[in-house]
């Protein structure tokens, strides 16, 4: 007697269930972004990825000298004389 550990109809069901999950992001991607006249909020200083460059640089240095991890947003680099 054949044993269906993972019956084929489950695969079909899975495919049917996942199809919207695949299609939705694709259709969403085509809608990503804005027109130039819709950049009013994005252009605000508070919406910049780095709102205070000097502050984030000082923070990066502090964390670099206290923690092992570095980089990610920007170059990780090799080190300082920090002790």
């Amino acid at each position: 007697m054949p044993v269906h550990l993972f019956p084929i109809q489950h695969l079909r069901g899975l495919a049917r269930g996942c199809l919207p999950l695949l299609v939705l992001p694709l259709s969403a991607c085509s809608n990503l972004g804005v027109q130039p006249w819709e950049r009013d909020l994005l252009a605000k200083p508070s919406m910049q990825l780095t709102t205070s460059a000097v502050e984030s640089a000082a923070d990066d240095h502090t964390y670099f000298s206290k923690e092992a991890a570095t980089g990610g947003r920007s170059f990780g680099g090799g080190g300082c004389g920090c002790n």
Binding site: L32, G33, V34, Q35, P36, W37, E38, R39, D40, L41, L42, A43, K44, P45, S46, M47, Q48, L49, T50, T51, S52, A53, V54, E55, S56, A57, A58, D60, H61, T62, Y63, F64, S65, K66, E67, A68, A69, T70, G71, G72, R73, S74, F75, G76, G77, G78, G79, C80, G81, C82, N83
Partner: protein, 450 residues
């Protein structure tokens, strides 16, 4: 704020209070790579982000800040002024200069483990001794340094949808010097809703410790190996900035770094203890040793979401290196716009790292290490290589003023909680071997066009 690579579309809304140019990031003191990051930062931010924030041509935008950082228990205190200036011409080409000073004083852990009795150590210079009270984590009280870092950068459009930047940096302290350069390129896509960025940096460090480079995993406070050593680091950075909607912006980036050369901390030692009593024995203290290469990878994702007025800024970073350390960093800020133009920004940062493969809070005589004989390939008791969790809680208040000026004040607290080392032998079991590190920082910032 992101400089716009292209002429502002006529239909683009321009804020009246367009302030600091975000491509002028502050110089991290002493750490060249961080300064190099500056030149790339603006490119990574992407034109995707903000279009239309052009400072008046041929004016200088100056950002300045002073950071006071103070750790508890008499540990490190830092005073760090930063001045950054950037000038953009009518062709959207900009030059930037940044100067950072960092004056450090206080005490720093020397790596030795606490003992039930008083411990005495020789200072790195070899000219003095210092003692640590019973039960306390040994700190070297001679921690004094002044760093100076200077960054120069140049950024320009390369055609309608591309930008390029170059930067060079010098950084010096009395026992460390660093020079480096970076180049970055960015490409706007999808009607400037996406920006691809690529960057490459190279750094050359010279480590010139007091008392010379110690002999790796040999008894501490002895003869040095040589006067100085070097390290080279190459970093690659790839980023993608995506406008998701009118209110939502995301950034994804990956950073790969490779270092080769001297990676040890010349001032750190490791205790050799008896496996039964926990007391220092045999060679007592040995110089630490780390691999002569390090490969790091970081993945970073950031989201900025504009509510009616306020902005939610969240980010996550996953970090991994070939020393066996993995780390998670979660960061969240909420910018609350108040009456009168003030804003209030609470900040929470959660960090967790695992320990390096060769992290040893101590070495056990006879098994890890044999005095006068066998030693492991690598060992370090540096707490920065230990497993720990850290929490930052902060609050910032600021006010943009007319004419592109802005001031801000930020207060933050930082606390590190180290995992307690397992299997502490004998007397060590009853001691606080991993005291928490706590610090408070205050930062005052002021920006103005010049």
């Amino acid at each position: 704020m992101q400089l716009n690579a292209n002429p502002m579309p006529a239909d683009c809304v321009q804020p009246q209070d367009a302030p600091a140019d975000s491509s002028s990031r502050g110089v991290p003191i002493g750490a060249l790579h961080l300064a190099l990051a500056a030149a790339t930062a603006s490119l990574l931010a992407g034109t995707a982000q903000a279009e239309g924030l052009q400072p008046a041509p041929n004016t200088w935008q100056v950002d300045s800040a002073v950071l006071v950082y103070k750790e508890g228990d008499g540990r490190v205190t830092a005073l760090e002024p930063i001045v950054s200036a950037r000038r953009t011409d009518g062709n959207d080409r900009s030059i930037g200069l940044r100067l950072t000073l960092d004056a450090l004083t206080g005490s720093s852990p020397n790596g030795a483990v606490a003992q039930p009795g008083v411990q005495t150590f020789t200072s790195p210079s070899g000219k003095a001794t210092y003692s640590t009270p019973a039960g306390k984590t040994p700190l070297n009280p001679e921690f004094r340094d002044t760093r100076v870092a200077l960054l120069g950068s140049y950024e320009r459009p390369l055609g309608p949808n591309q930008r390029g930047s170059l930067s060079a940096n010098l950084s010096a302290e009395h026992d460390f010097a660093s020079v480096g350069a970076s180049a970055s390129w960015s490409l706007d896509l999808n009607n400037k809703n996406s920006t691809l960025s690529l960057g490459l940096s190279a750094e050359f460090d010279r480590i010139n410790p007091e008392g010379g480079i110690p002999l790796a995993l040999k008894p501490a406070f002895g003869a040095s190996d040589k006067g100085n050593d070097t390290r080279q680091v190459v970093d690659l950075l790839a980023g993608w900035t995506q406008v998701m909607s009118r209110r939502w912006l995301m950034q994804f980036s990956w950073n790969h770094g490779r270092g080769s050369g001297y990676h040890s901390d010349p001032y750190k030692i490791v205790s050799v203890v008896d496996g039964s009593s926990g007391l220092v024995t045999g060679d007592r203290y040995v110089n630490e040793n780390r691999p002569n290469s390090r490969s790091r990878n970081s993945l970073f994702v950031q989201s900025k979401w504009h509510l009616t007025q306020d902005v939610v800024d969240t980010s996550y970073r996953y970090y991994r290196d070939d020393w066996g350390i993995a780390a998670h960093t979660l960061d969240a800020r909420y910018r609350y716009e108040m009456a009168g133009g003030f804003y209030l920004e609470p900040h929470l940062r959660l960090y967790r790292q695992s320990e390096a493969d060769f992290y040893r809070a101590w070495l056990v005589e006879g098994s890890d290490y044999v005095s006068g004989g066998r030693a492991p390939a690598y060992a370090s008791a540096d707490q920065r290589l230990a497993a720990f969790s850290a929490t930052t809680v902060g609050l910032k208040i600021g006010k943009p003023l007319a004419g592109g000026k802005e001031w801000s004040l930020r207060v933050e607290s930082y606390r590190q909680k180290l995992d307690r080392p397992a299997n502490a032998p004998g007397a060590l079991a009853g001691l606080d071997l991993t005291p928490d590190l706590s610090a408070v920082s205050i930062m005052v910032g002021y920006s103005l066009p010049f």
